[in-house]
Each structure stands twice: as C-alpha cells, then as structure tokens.
Amino acid sequence: MMTAPADQTAPLLEIEDLSVAFRTERGLVRAVDGANLTLRAGETLALVGESGSGKSVTALSILGLLGDNARVERGRILFEGEDLLRLDRRALRGIRGHRISMIFQEPMSSLNPVLTIGRQVAEPIRLHQGRSWPEALDQAAELLARVAIPDPRERLAQYPHHFSGGMRQRVMIAMALACQPRLIIADEPTTALDVTVQAQILELLKTLTRETGAALLLITHDLGVVARYAERVAVMYAGRIVESASARALYGTPRHPYTEGLMASVPSLTGEPRARLLTISGQPPDLADLPPGCAFAPRCPHVHELCRGTVPALQPATGTSDRDHRSACHGYP
C-alpha cells in the first residue's frame, strides 16, 4: 500500500475564515470564529486547545458531521482544491471514510456493539472500493494485521466488547486506513487510554502515516504528545486560532501570551519539582458572552487598551526561526 512520497509543498487542506455557530438555549454560540488552517500532504499538524476552544468542531466541520443545530456561517474548506462546504451529502459521503477518515476519542462508542469487527472494517472497503464481502473481509484481515492485532482472521468474527480499549483503537485505525486516505483526522485518539498503550497507538499512527504518506490532523490537549509527534501546531482559544508555527518554533519562541501560559502551566518530567507552576489567571471565557476584542484579554498579563476593543488578526510573527510562524496578538507584532 506504499504510495509515492508526498508532495511537501502543495496544501492538502486549507481552511479559510471558517465560522461555525450553534443555536442554543442561551442564544447563538460561535464555537469557531474565523479559523485559518493549512495542512500539507504527509504532514502532521496538531490542533491544540482546552475544552471548548473549538478544536473538535473544526474537525467535525471538515467532515460535514456537525449536528442539526450547527451552521457554518462563512468560510471555505478546500480539500485537494475542492470546497467541502459546497458538496452535497452524496459527494461528501464519497470523500468521508475514503480520502479523509476520522479516529475518535472513544473507541467503544464509535464502534457498533452488535456488528462483528470484520463487518465494520470491511464495510468501507465494500462501499468505497466496490469489493465483494469475501474480498473486503480478506482485506480487513490484512488491515488488522497491519495495526498489529494478533490472530486477525479469528478476530474478524468477534464483537467490540471482546476487545480491550487499546485494541479497539487499533480497529478504528484499521478502519481509517481501509481506503488509503490522504488525510486522517484523529480527535484525542489516546485520551481514554493508559499511557503505555497511548505510546503504542501514537507510534503506530506515526509509522502508518509515514508509510502511506497520509497527512494527520491530530487534535489534542496534551502538549507532550504534540512535542513528540507533530511537525506543525495550531493553538486555539475561544474558537479562534491564536498561534500557528512549526512545533520547534512554537515551543522555542512562543509568540502569544496564551501559548506561553499553557507551556508554563504544564508540569513535565524535566521541570523543577515542587516549583510554583505559572498559571493563567481566571477561567476560559463563556462563548455565549465573549468580550469584544481579543478573547484572551481578560486573562492576559500583557493586556493593553487596543486588546479590549479590536480582535487581533493572525499575522506573521517576528523573532522566530519559522517563516510561517503566525500569531494573533496586538502585543507580539
């Protein structure tokens, strides 16, 4: 299933000025507000943020999987040059699970408990590649072997409850790989797993994306996982992308106070034990009641007048080794 080395320059996915709003009891809540994101072929991009920052909603909008109460207000999602937001359901189904596939956080709730694993892994192969069931099942067994599930033939006849959490996530990865996708979106794929199993799954994802040349959009809140696996990083806060850069530049020379705050507040295996952790004061904002101007302004240690009135645009940053480093901050031009 090897493919030609990926073209490292052409953007595979370009999200431009995406805004998504939800109708709620408390009025319209804008979960994503003017997000811009570029992902090149074969690249691993981490989308980082805390709960409610809009990272999962961004991922779901790529696949057209938003609920009925959500509306894309504006923007474009170009995948291989085609705007996914303009496609009808049928055309989108042709892409979903085929050229773009998704791995969710909860492998138990994303597998159907009453269907065998074989049926679930073989289904996308049958649908998207027009194979017969026996052919698709053969291919499913190969896929299970590829994600290092022992005795794949026997495992095909079993149900999800026969699998451990880590093994279920391997099944999800096998399904995601079924149709040789160009883009895999993994939304907190290891958050529900123990740390030794997390390492296995992430190493597996890394190997497989390398082998197939698929790009990976990795959604996570774990800055350690980002440092180990991502080439580029975009940081989200209150629905906006506040900084994006190569992983090295982002960790080495963060150019947004929120990113700096996040880095300083994580205890790590290499930090000073028992030292006071620097914290970000206050709480994440209420999306239904965002302040005018920069959403981070009420918590920002460097806030000034401009920040409270004008939303800063995502602009090229200075003082960084990465030419594509961008930050949305009035204080860090």
Binding site: V195, A199, A227, R228, G252, G271
Partner: protein, 334 residues
C-alpha cells in the same frame, strides 16, 4: 473549630502504615444460586508508609488498584487482609463508632468536581456538612465564619457561599471539594485523581493550591494519580503499582532519575515531554501488550508477559518487594 497552622513536627513516627493490604472482589456465577467462582485481586499485598508532612503518591495505569487502596485506607472498602495503622492506632478493625474520630483526621478529595458535589446544596452547606455531621458546627455565626475561613483558604470569595455548584467552573468546584476536605482540620488528605479532570491552565492553579495548603497547614497527602508529570511535580516519595501490587517505591529523585523496575522505566519512556528538541533526542521505546485482567493475573511476576528482560524465573515466582542498597524498594528478580 479553626484551621491549625502546624509547626514542623519532630515526631518521626509515621502517620500511616499500611502492611500487606489486600482487597479481593468475589466473582460469582448464577442468578438464583450465586456461587463464588473466583476473585479479582484488586489489591494484593500492598505495603507502604506515610511520613508526617510528606506527599506520597501511588501511580499506575487503570486497574492497578491505586484507587481501591485509597478507599481501603479510608475504611470505605472492606479489606480481605492486611493492617492499617494511623498515628499509632490500628484502625483495621475499628467499629464505625470507634472509627469516627479518625474519620475527622483522614479526608478525601475526589476526582470529579461535577459528580462529587450535591447540586441541590449551597456551597456553604457542602463545605460545612462535615462540621454538622461531626457535631462541630456551633451556632449560626460560628458556622458561617468557619465556612468563610475555609473558602478564603482555598481562594474562593466567601460572598459566594449562598450559590449552588452549577454556578461554579470546574476549577472552582475542585476548590469547593478541597475546602470541604479541610473543614475538619485533617492530618491526612487522600487526593484521588484530584486534578485529572481539569484543563491544564486550571490544573496548575489547583496544584499550586494543594502545595500551598500543605505548607501552611502541615498536611500529609496520599496522592493517587495516573499522571507521572503531576506526580513528579508534587511528591516526595512514590509507589508504582501494577496489577494490584507495588513494584517500586522510591524518592522522587531516585524514581525519576534512575527508575529500577522495568515497568517504571516503561512508564517513564511512554510519557511524552513537552519539548520537541528533547523528544527528538529520546528513544521512543514502547512495551508491547496491555495490562492483563486482575481476574486472571499471569503466574509469577505480573509484569513478565510485557517485560523486555523477563527470565524463566519471572514466569513462576512472584518477586517480593525488597530493599536495594540505596534505600528504594523494588519487586524484580533482576
């Protein structure tokens, strides 16, 4: 009652001594006539000691028995075997009435700041409830003053005492849980995954608070967590658990500087460091397999099926936790 500011103690006797603790859950078969057909050895011969004023952490992956151990120490979980000595008194078999004065001195902070607070009680009554239960509430004025003192202690505004939990964020709720645990001025606070449900920026605030409170009040913490970075940040000594047993006990610097047990090493290798440079230099060693079921633990050393250095002996004999020259305890034949 007021919060004591303890002097650094000269008392060298341990605050808590747990010896050979076991908690087994029966596995039954049949609906009408239930027969016991086996046991889940959730905790299987765990021993450790807590010194006064220190933070001792139990760390391990899900199902290793760390939370069950904590519940057993609080006598909230019947023991199958073993002994718990708190401040010189054997509390293993105390009756509920005799246990009461010790309950005041051992308190707990729970993981879930959403599930552990009664949504129909005001924050004042949530924090003050332990005082009422133990008959220490006093008159209205004393009660309100004590609750206000506790709220200030954990960084909440006393003016918010009349509000309900849903009006607070996750981090604030965890502060409420901490204030309630401190209401009876305990000696030992058991924190079961106390910061695991919080976002990183809020987690740091709560970790700082826990460290401040320990210093101010001379608290001893038994900290239960799966997060090695958090454990390293907070702990003086650490016990690593695997499948119901402690496999290594060491000081923070020994454990993280030179882990001895192959499972401890595997755990540390698996934790990513938030630095792309360091990650690029580090070998990414991954151990195979997953934690086996505690109902059917492997014979011999419970870790041997995943251990990269397993010897024939490891498949048959379970290694005992024994002292190494540097003072740490390791359960490994190597």
């Amino acid at each position: 009652m007021a919060t004591r500011e303890r002097e650094p103690t000269m008392n060298d006797a341990p605050l808590l001594e747990v010896t050979d603790l076991s908690v087994h859950f029966p596995v039954t078969e049949g609906v009408v006539r239930q027969r016991t057909i086996g046991a889940v050895r959730a905790v299987d011969g765990v021993s450790f000691t807590l010194r006064r004023g220190e933070t001792f952490s139990l760390v391990g992956e899900s199902g290793c028995g760390k939370s069950t151990t904590a519940m057993a120490v609080l006598r909230m979980q019947p023991l199958t075997g073993g002994r718990i000595v708190f401040d010189g008194t054997d509390i293993t078999t105390l009756t509920p009435a005799a246990m009461r004065p010790f309950r005041r001195r051992i308190q707990m902070v729970y993981q879930d700041p959403y599930g552990s607070l009664n949504p129909r009680m005001t924050v004042r009554d949530i924090i003050g409830e332990p005082l009422v239960v133990h008959g220490l509430a006093g008159d209205r004025k004393t009660y309100a003053a004590r609750v206000a003192e506790l709220m200030e202690l954990v960084g909440l505004l006393p003016a918010m005492a009349g509000r309900y939990p849903h009006e607070f964020s996750g981090g604030q709720r965890q502060r409420i849980g901490i204030a309630r645990a401190l209401a009876l001025d305990p000696d030992l606070v058991v924190c079961d995954e106390a910061v695991s449900a919080l976002d990183v920026s809020i987690q740091a605030q709560v970790l700082n608070l826990l460290m401040d409170l320990q210093q101010r009040l001379g608290l001893t913490y038994l900290f239960i967590s799966h997060d090695l970075s958090v454990v390293r940040h907070l702990s003086d000594r650490i016990g690593v658990m695997y499948l119901g047993r402690i496999v290594e006990v060491a000081t923070r610097d020994d454990l993280f500087g030179a882990p001895q047990h192959p499972y401890t090493r595997a755990l540390l290798d698996a934790v990513p460091i938030p630095s792309p440079e360091r990650e690029a230099e580090r070998p990414h060693r991954v151990i195979p397999g997953e934690v086996p079921s505690a109902r059917n633990p492997p014979p011999g050393c419970p870790f041997h099926p995943r251990c990269p250095h397993a010897l024939p002996q490891c498949r048959t004999d379970a290694p005992a936790l024994s002292a190494r020259p540097d003072g740490r305890l390791v359960a490994c034949h190597l």
